[in-house]
């Protein structure tokens, strides 16, 4: 005796849950968040264990809070521009927004280079004190990320202008830049204020 089986419905293949580019970037950002969490924790711990009035060490120069805050506005504005570029819009509009973001990011990176040069010139170096070591490690690591992200944004901008930037790759670039932008207020608050 045979039983007639109903035909099984064909499995429907839908869109991927998440693209490889975006998932890879999320894992990368995860690792980076943990790296900076370790830096911030070490900085807070050393500061808390220093004798009262000795953190930052009295001999260290005051960090330029006002000018760095102004440069931070350029970085935050570039984050807004990248967000704007990711909205559904024409390729030309997205390209313009991405171009503005690259210029603003270059302003921030340029300011940091100038600030590092000025601080090094007055003797505040990686080895001048524990505070100097933390400053250049934490802010320098962020600056390296900002430089690499600016290079990536510039590359993405060029590809977008040629119409060769895929949406998943653009999404991954945006995630990386948002990480760099959103991390900065945390570092600024911890290290400068």
């Amino acid at each position: 005796m045979t039983t007639a089986a109903l035909p099984l419905p064909k499995p429907v293949k839908g869109p991927p849950l998440v693209t490889s580019e975006v998932f890879g970037m999320l894992i990368w950002v995860f690792a980076e968040v943990m790296l900076f969490a370790g830096f911030i924790s070490g900085y807070n711990l050393v500061g808390a264990r220093a004798p009262a009035g000795w953190w930052p060490p009295p001999g260290d120069p005051a960090l330029p809070v006002a000018s760095t805050a102004a440069a931070s506005l350029a970085l935050l504005a570039s984050g807004v521009a990248v967000w704007w570029a990711g909205r559904p819009a024409s390729r030309a509009a997205a390209g313009r927004a991405l171009g503005i973001a690259v210029v603003l990011a270059l302003v921030f990176v340029g300011y940091q280079v100038a600030e590092f040069a000025r601080l090094l010139a007055i003797g505040f170096t990686l080895v001048s004190s524990a505070h100097g070591g933390f400053f250049y490690t934490i802010i320098g690591a962020h600056a390296l990320h900002a430089v690499s992200a600016v290079v990536a944004l510039g590359w993405g901008w060029r590809k977008l202008s040629n119409g060769a930037l895929s949406e998943p790759l653009f999404a991954a670039l945006r995630i990386y830049w948002f990480f760099v932008v959103l991390l900065w207020p945390v570092l600024f608050t911890v290290v400068y204020l």
Binding site: G14, L17, L26, F30, M34, G38, S41, L45, A48, R49
Partner: protein, 81 residues
């Protein structure tokens, strides 16, 4: 709920520092040791929060894709003759 409360109470009692003697800085009022405790908590919970966030986002995406597929798929063949 009725089982969770005694278990939570037992965990709280057994993990009390004076019983466990495992946390030398938990009850120390000095700022350096309090910071060490808060840093330990921060670094322990942060990866869990990140993983939970990514997992939750993926689950929400999964539900959204499933709903979209259900809305787009044709109705299943009827078994009635």
């Amino acid at each position: 709920m009725s089982r969770a409360l005694p278990i939570a109470a037992a965990v709280a009692v057994l993990s009390h520092p004076s019983f466990a003697l495992a946390c030398s800085s938990c009850m120390d009022p000095r700022e350096g040791n309090r910071t060490l405790l808060s840093v330990t908590v921060f670094l322990s919970l942060l990866p869990l929060a990140l993983m939970g966030g990514i997992g939750g986002w993926l689950y929400r995406r999964h539900l959204a894709v499933e709903r979209a597929l259900l809305a787009a798929s044709p109705p299943a063949p009827s078994t009635e003759r």
